[in-house]
Subunit: 487 residues, 2 copies
Amino acid sequence: MRLLSPLALGTATAPNRVVVPAMVTRLSGEDGFVNDAIIERYVRYARGHVGLIVVEATAVHGNKSGPLLRLSDDGFIKGHAELVRRARAESDSLIVPQIIHFLKVARSGWRQTIDQLSPDDIERIIGEFGAAAARAKAAGYDGVELHSAHAYTLASFLSRMNRRKDAYDGRSLEGRLRLFGRVFAEVRSQVGPDFPVGVRFLADEAIKGGYSLPDARLIALRMAQLGVAYISLSVGGKFEDAQQRPGQPLYPYTGYSGDRCMPDERYPALTHVGYAADIRAYIRSKGFTTPVVAAGKISTPEEAEGILAAGQADMIGMARQLLADPDWVRKVEAGRRPAIIPCIYCNVCKQLDETFHEVTCFLWPKGAHQAPADDPAGAAPAWGEGNGHLRAEIEDGQIRLVWDKPASGTIVAYDIYRAEDDGPPSVVEGVKHTKHLDRAVLGGLAYTYYVRASDNAGRTSPPSNAVRVDMPLPSQDDQREPSHARV
Amino acid sequence: MRLLSPLALGTATAPNRVVVPAMVTRLSGEDGFVNDAIIERYVRYARGHVGLIVVEATAVHGNKSGPLLRLSDDGFIKGHAELVRRARAESDSLIVPQIIHFLKVARSGWRQTIDQLSPDDIERIIGEFGAAAARAKAAGYDGVELHSAHAYTLASFLSRMNRRKDAYDGRSLEGRLRLFGRVFAEVRSQVGPDFPVGVRFLADEAIKGGYSLPDARLIALRMAQLGVAYISLSVGGKFEDAQQRPGQPLYPYTGYSGDRCMPDERYPALTHVGYAADIRAYIRSKGFTTPVVAAGKISTPEEAEGILAAGQADMIGMARQLLADPDWVRKVEAGRRPAIIPCIYCNVCKQLDETFHEVTCFLWPKGAHQAPADDPAGAAPAWGEGNGHLRAEIEDGQIRLVWDKPASGTIVAYDIYRAEDDGPPSVVEGVKHTKHLDRAVLGGLAYTYYVRASDNAGRTSPPSNAVRVDMPLPSQDDQREPSHARV
């Protein structure tokens, strides 16, 4: 299986092709030090044998922010060294921090923009990236990732919204690339040739006036020319379309570009794989073998393997899916595919982040700070007589499902699987109670449902009984009758 | 060539696979009557042998608006009949009007939304669509297209932003589809079984909270179930992200979703073909053969034929490309491929529309209200000694081009062709003067340029001399030196 085969990232080697991209946790204190909760979150991914663990955005500078890890001073090295030590004790997962520089944002709505930076400010930022990378190396990390995505400083220079008119001229591609080139050169000079330096950047800004694939191909090529260890792709997550919320600082991911950054059920599976395939093919055509990481609603081992087999990407990034189930890789390795807890893309994690709460998963037990421990030995929830007794009725062109609780297990959530006509089943929703109204069904199609229950130890029941519903087309009478029509 | 083969659209047959989608012209008066300028604009497409001509959005109701064609009263039929008669005299192009209902928009920024519509309002709208379709048939059109895209009434019901909670419930797919179903049934009952009724709708709303491909597949399937003659796909163009401009009514296409609706040079060629391919494959999998029209930066006969050959779409929509050159089809038929004037996607046409000016093309002669007549016999502009003497120099990581005027011809514009490394040349810009600064080039790549001049009769010169530029990578010195670096 390609998915489980190792891959060289510069001078390091990931044990498999799975990446957990940087995800905000809000577990750290405002002091920026690594704490037990942070260690527990990342050790969990190491225990799950994720090939490359990217630790959440870690500041290279001291600007005030909410809970945010720091590498802006040597005093922060110790905590990171402990995090690395603890992760290493679990597995041979690679672990790197994503180092970030960001500008000031005020609750008033004012925010600092890159055109306000003086030449001295820029020289300072370059130095801060270099020093933070050196601290990452001192802490024992396997490498470092330069955060050049979303709404932050490096991405703002790469952006089509870059309004500078100096050597970092936003009107020219080389001007927009200049700061990244200088930062990379400084980081390389600080960490030496044997320390992998990866990058995450945007394949598409997804904002009015922003760049899309044509610029992204060339930005990726420059990164390959410079010798990045890997190119991890994201989309959107910008300030330009963020929604101002009273009394809160402007926060990216709250606008349309935030929808695109973390696509929910409204978007197709593998939403952004096409970007990775295009960019990878482009840099390959120029002779560069730089690994490309695809991300965006990739959930199953079959999807992941298919992307690798088709040469659309070299590694598979899964943020929300690995938050839901950090043991995804171990379960694939052990042939326990059905034990994987599938992400339902409900984006409760995204909403928690947007409202400045600790980031957890809807599918975890209530109040849990981490995913439940994987316990293959323990007994999974079992349905009683009638196998859940799932039943369905059609109501106003929607399908109402009800079922019985399992006979055993402390149930945390129910995953609802649906197959359209005779197609393959997939998870369409996750709920906490024994009922669901499916509003996304179309008359003229047949739907087959079953439910699986997961307990507070992350164990899932077998499928319930299956129920098939043939949705009738709206009749001419429905069409004419203005009030709700019973079918 | 598939592109030039006929295709049945319900009971009518298009002579080829090329469609000019509805494009605002702002040529009609506020009175809503067909005038000479309107006739000239559409007759031009018939002369160019476009397979399916969709006349710009034509109101089914009397709401005040800017210059906008109407079919809201029998008094409007005569003008449309004359337009049809004049088009028929030119060729066997099919011609249909796009009939639209829209809600009120005030300069204050207030706009009417669909949740404010009473059951009676909705019954009236349904009746207005039926009556307008009957008038289109009376005028002699080959069919009618229901405008269910962008920011208008039918699209607002299909939208995920539909806030109604009655029989048109925005929370359920069938609720969102209900008005379209009722409008289609009423139109069909008014025009009978032998009059093609096509539709245009959004494959992706491209707004925060909007729908994307998964809903679009099911919306398209419902349209196929109902028996639409064709499904024409667009993207974006919504009110929700439109930019309020002082003293002007809120106008769609001014926000990010407007960027997506008419993608410019920042977007790749064939930007939206993937949507058409996905939706077409989906409805085919359900047994429906409804023709699907793809649009969005499709420019060349090779691109168009490739899309048809790959089964990604059944017809090729080209709005801006056919505005630039309405004779595109005739030139392909006559084997005069090099005579095609390529659209450069500068979106001057889009800007003219947004600022409420008559919509013309940047590549047309100054002050022209229509594209220049195709004159194969006339002499194309010829380069003098030195063949244009195109030369290039590298300046601050950009490439400056200058060339000499042709020896003959009244030149309207110069198209700049660029090949990257040894790739195929394509048009990257169109300019009015004999110089250009290419800011979108990357160090480490080689670029080969040539220029073609087009005259006031739409004739294009042969390519100028070609010039090759090897862009150096930024040197370590550049990277360190803070001011502009001369290469």
